[in-house]
Symmetry: C2
DNA sequence: GTATAAAGTTTTATTGCCCAAACTTTGTGC
DNA sequence: GCACAAAGTTTGGGCAATAAAACTTTATAC
């Protein structure tokens, strides 16, 4: 009965619901509570509560048992968060070379704790790197090397040992 | 009275307390509840509760009214989180060129939502970039240009317009 | 059209985090 | 050593997020 969240500010969790609904609506034309629950990995009852709050705040069109649509306000947020996700994903996958699954889950966590201007800067950075061929060849070579090392040993050990040796030789 | 958090897993908030205590202990020799409260921007009573939980979990040495020290286990976590902070800070400040204050607060948010291996990779990346002079000159030049633009206009507007123009000319 | 399954909701409860206010302990100045 | 301030704690409460269980509504199969 507590009819939660009369406040103004969206929480990270709520942002995530809006992003999820945005994706579902884009893909299917509308969102269902059960699809949201599945995508967000929460129970159906939790989704009901979240929808009530988001409706109160003017982010979703929703009445009990109905299909779910974002309002214009909701779409704006959903799109923005999805964009953040996209930018982080690109950085994690293309630059840091994480595997797609890990990159995705990490992007999902990062996307709610940064401001828009930082995401913009990061996006510009990734875009800029795309046009740096000499950078890429060196960086990917380094990446390949370390991946090979990781197969038989914990990388930290080896690199630390090697690093120390080299440093001593330089002195 | 609920004597919270007997569970095993540290929450982001708890990680942050450990990091804070780690810094204070490094700086002052020991942490005080009031310093923790100030650093973490919470009330003193909140800190008391957090300390009880962290003590129960074996991360801090603490008894009512006493000074606060991390256990070995606690130091390990505190140091690890502080390291994450350092890596993110370097990336945000040195690479993305955010102002120090913004970089710091953002690092503080990011540091709790990524795994160690990603931080390691990011650290390697930043380190790698340090030795890429040609990269830096181009990137900083781009950064300077955009900063000039920002002084009089919202950057997005201008860049979007310019970008569109250029794209049309190329076609 | 009715029985049944699926989808959605309500109720109730828990957990984590937080604060204000009232209280207790500790430390400091005189 | 005592009064007082500062530091710390306890009590009581609030809110966001969650789920399980019981319930209701909607859709489906026949």
């Amino acid at each position: 009965m507590p009819q939660r969240q009369k406040g103004e500010q969206l929480t990270p969790v709520q942002e995530n619901y809006l992003e999820t609904i945005f994706r579902l609506e884009t893909r299917d034309g509308a969102a269902r509570a059960s699809s949201i629950a599945e995508a967000a990995q929460v129970s159906r009852s939790t989704v009901t509560g979240a929808l009530k709050a988001l409706k109160n705040m003017g982010y979703v069109e929703y009445s009990p048992y109905s299909l779910i649509y974002l309002t214009e306000k909701g779409k704006e947020v959903g799109r923005r968060i999805a964009h953040r996700h996209f930018v982080f994903l690109a950085f994690l996958e293309k630059v840091l070379r994480l595997d797609p699954e890990k990159a995705d889950s990490t992007a999902c966590a990062l996307e709610h704790v940064v401001s828009d201007d930082i995401v913009k800067r990061l996006g510009e950075f990734v875009l800029f790197l795309k046009n740096c061929p000499e950078f890429w060849s060196d960086w990917l070579e380094k990446y390949e090397k370390e991946n090979l090392l990781e197969k038989s040993h914990t990388r930290s050990t080896i690199v630390e040992v090697l690093g120390t040796k080299q440093e001593r030789e330089q002195k």
